[in-house]
């Protein structure tokens, strides 16, 4: 799904250059679950943004999908936007739901760029909410939902367009332990059912160990610490509600 070669990312703060990524090489296979751990400020989220086409590397290439020449580092902005709209789902730590839209409408926002007719859009959003167990909360505003419910809405929004890749940045960082297990269990089930490629950034080792592969970001460099690659060797799925 991904092939990253010598990906570097520098940020400039006045005259200072901050190297967030110092040459990352990484292959991510289709349907793989990769967890990335590491201390704060060592480049985890930056790497995730590069994978999601939210930012461009200073140098290096990010080949995406099976399309030849689909280098996210070189594509025009409109093409990267199209890739995001069609193929990549995001989940954020702070949920990032639009506060004025209901759960159903928030899920629909992911389908807007795909120009799907309103009725079909509503039907798909309803199904996505049902898949995360929130069919009865469709008309609620985010402020009327718990943290776990909001993250479920965010997961439904990420998956409603049936993306190839799901990128999750600390998806349980704002949740209590029970809800964390609940959300991770849900993600794991959806990953398996939908054969997604899942890249999950987390501080939580118990979550990270559930992935097929575990990478650690340290000073802008990635090293793979664990590689199981077979679903049989992984821990039993956490039951989810």
């Amino acid at each position: 799904m991904y092939k990253l070669t010598e990906v570097k990312k520098d940020y400039y703060k006045g005259n200072r250059v901050i190297a967030a990524l110092r040459g990352v090489d990484l292959d991510i296979a289709d349907g793989e679950w990769l967890a990335i751990q590491g201390p704060t400020g060592h480049g985890k989220s930056t790497l995730l943004q590069m994978l999601g086409g939210l930012d461009r590397p200073t140098s290096g290439s990010i080949e995406f999908g099976d399309r030849a020449g689909a280098n996210l580092a070189r594509l025009r902005e409109s093409q990267v936007t199209k890739v995001r709209a069609e193929s990549i789902g995001f989940i954020f730590q702070t949920f990032n739901l639009v506060p004025t839209l209901t759960a159903q409408e928030n899920v629909e926002t992911a389908l807007v760029p795909l120009r799907i007719p309103a009725l079909a859009r509503q039907e798909r959003a309803t199904n996505a909410l049902a898949a995360v167990g929130l069919a009865n909360r469709a008309r609620h505003l985010p402020s009327e939902l718990s943290g776990g419910q909001q993250q479920r809405v965010a997961i439904a929004r990420a998956l409603v367009k049936e993306p190839k890749v799901l990128l999750a940045d600390e998806p349980t960082g704002n949740l209590d332990e029970d809800t964390r297990d609940d959300i991770i269990g849900l993600l794991e089930r959806l990953w398996r059912e939908q054969e997604l490629t899942l890249v999950l950034v987390t501080h939580d080792s118990s979550i990270a160990r559930r992935a097929q592969r575990l990478g650690v970001m340290q000073n802008g460099r990635l090293s793979i610490k664990l590689d199981t690659r077979t679903r049989e060797t992984r821990a039993e799925p956490i039951a989810n509600g």
């Binding site: 930012d55 936007t81 709209a85 995001f90 004025t100 629909e108 807007v112 760029p113």
Partner: protein, 500 residues
């Protein structure tokens, strides 16, 4: 989704949206009110013109007198005695002359030229004259401390002269009786109070209409005879002309006035009706081109010569009102832009998320601009309401306005300087000078100083409403443009990284 999102977002920041909308509404309401006021003032100016020169008169054409055509010498005694020297003391004089006032003359051909111009509905000629009778005996004159000199400068101390000679001037209007001239000229405003009016068949007859005030003071009735330039005219009617209009003491057929004043085939005023109000300026220009060296007056350029509260209202609308409206509108646009940008700043994470979901910049900008335009439209609707209210208040609370077009203007316009130098220009000696005009000239002075009362209405026109809608959308576009520009510049990663 676009409308749902827009509606919810506006509801969320209802207070801010209300402030923006009300600011725009205030600006737009002021623009509409000021536009309506300007329109009302323009109508009032047109009303002044009509009340002075006839209900259908849109344009008047006059000509400045040529040098030496009018002045002390023109009256003189030469006509009566065959000499320009002062007659000997004791000589009895009986002078009755009919002369043009302070206006130059144009020919009937000029009148025909104007009548044939494009967009001219009708044109009529007029000859405004002064009949001056002087009877008495030339006294032995001791100038004493009176200051001699031609016209104007006299100190008015020529008491013995004045006592012996009795100038009795009255104003005469030669009226165009052609059927096409109906509705044009001051007489068209007159109301017949006795007898009959002048008709086309009176063209060559010695018949006259007399102004009711003049008739009253001179005890003149229908059927009486009056003398104009030593010619007897039968009074066929008494007419009352509104105080505001250019009124004359006596109205006689134009051709008779031309003959008696020695101005055959000449007129000194042409009254013109344009075929539509929108063509008045075009017709005015055409007249200036077709008949050179004339003064063309219409409601627009009349405005610059008006004094009184209409002029004040015009000044208020054009200066204070216009700039106030522009200032408030600019402030409203600025406020809307700043608040919209501020709203975008608070939503960077939201827009960043939408971009991460695949919304392109155009869609995000469209959402921001759409919200701003929606606020602008609401502001526009309220603004139109405020505009109607403001216009109604202007119409309701503004007292009748006065408009004066007096001799103070000093221009060669009808009702303006038509009589300029009238006081000083009569007896050429050191007699009744301009600085001490005796009461007997008051009739002339009065005629030269017209004051019209008009009711000011402030009509809201369709174009003002269209302008309001355009302004509302412009306000929304400006505010949304700034906000959208800020939103478009957001990179999704940076937007998501922003901690709120």
């Amino acid at each position: 989704m676009f409308l749902t999102y827009l509606r919810r977002e506006l509801r969320r920041r209802a207070r801010q949206a209300s402030i923006i909308a009300l600011g725009l509404a205030l600006g737009i309401g002021l623009v509409i009110t000021v536009t309506a006021l300007s329109s009302g003032v323009k109508n009032a100016q047109g009303e002044v013109l009509h009340s002075l020169y006839g209900q259908d008169t849109d344009i008047t054409v006059t000509k400045a007198p040529t040098a030496g055509s009018f002045g002390p010498g023109s009256f003189g005694f030469g006509g009566a005695f065959g000499t320009s020297k002062r007659p000997a003391a004791g000589t009895k004089i009986n002078v009755d002359t009919l002369r043009g006032g302070g206006l130059g003359t144009m020919t009937n051909a000029n009148l025909a030229t104007v009548a044939k111009l494009k967009n001219v509905a009708a044109a009529a000629g007029g000859l405004t004259l002064t009949d001056t009778k002087i009877t008495g005996t030339i006294p032995a004159i001791n100038f004493g401390n009176g200051t001699s000199g031609p016209g104007g400068g006299g100190s008015g101390n020529g008491g013995s002269f004045r006592g012996s000679l009795s100038p009795t001037p009255f104003s005469v209007d030669g009226v165009d009786l052609a059927s096409s001239a109906s509705g044009l000229g001051p007489l068209s405003l007159g109301k017949l109070t006795a007898g009959r009016t002048l008709t086309a068949s009176d063209n060559a007859a010695n018949v006259a209409l007399v102004d009711s005030n003049y008739a009253k003071s001179g005890k003149i009735a229908v059927g009486d005879a009056i003398t104009v330039a030593k010619t007897s005219f039968k009074v066929v009617g008494i007419v009352t002309v509104p105080a505001s209009a250019s009124s004359y003491n006596v109205y006689i057929p134009l051709t008779r006035a031309q003959t008696l004043s020695g101005l055959k085939n000449e007129v000194n005023t042409i009254y013109v009706a344009a075929d539509s109000a929108s063509n008045i300026t075009t017709v005015s220009k055409s007249i200036s081109t077709a008949v050179p060296h004339v003064t063309v007056q219409n409601s627009a350029n009349l405005a610059s010569q008006l004094t009184g509260s209409v002029a004040s209202a015009s000044s208020l609308a054009n200066n204070l009102g216009k700039w106030l409206a522009i200032a408030v509108l600019a402030a409203a646009f600025l406020l809307a832009s700043l608040l919209t940008m501020s709203a975008v700043s608070r939503r960077v994470r939201e827009f960043g998320t939408l971009k991460a979901l695949g919304w392109n910049s155009r869609r995000v900008v469209g959402q921001v601009v759409g919200e701003a335009i929606a606020i602008g439209v609401v502001g526009g609707v309220i603004g139109v309401g405020l505009g109607f209210l403001g216009s109604a208040l202007v119409g309701h609370f503004t007292p009748p306005l006065s408009a004066s077009l007096g001799s103070a203007t000093g221009s060669a316009t009808p009702g303006g300087a038509r009589f300029f130098g009238g006081g000083g220009g009569l007896p050429g000696g050191g007699g009744p000078g301009g600085g001490a005009a005796p009461n007997r000239f008051s009739a002339l002075s009065q005629a030269a100083d017209h004051t019209t009362l008009v009711h000011l209405s402030a009509p809201v026109t369709a174009s003002a409403i269209v302008a309001a809608v355009v302004l509302a959308i412009a306000g929304g576009l400006i505010a949304g443009g700034f906000g959208g520009w800020r939103a478009a510049r957001l990179r999704p990663a940076a937007a998501l990284a922003r901690v709120e």
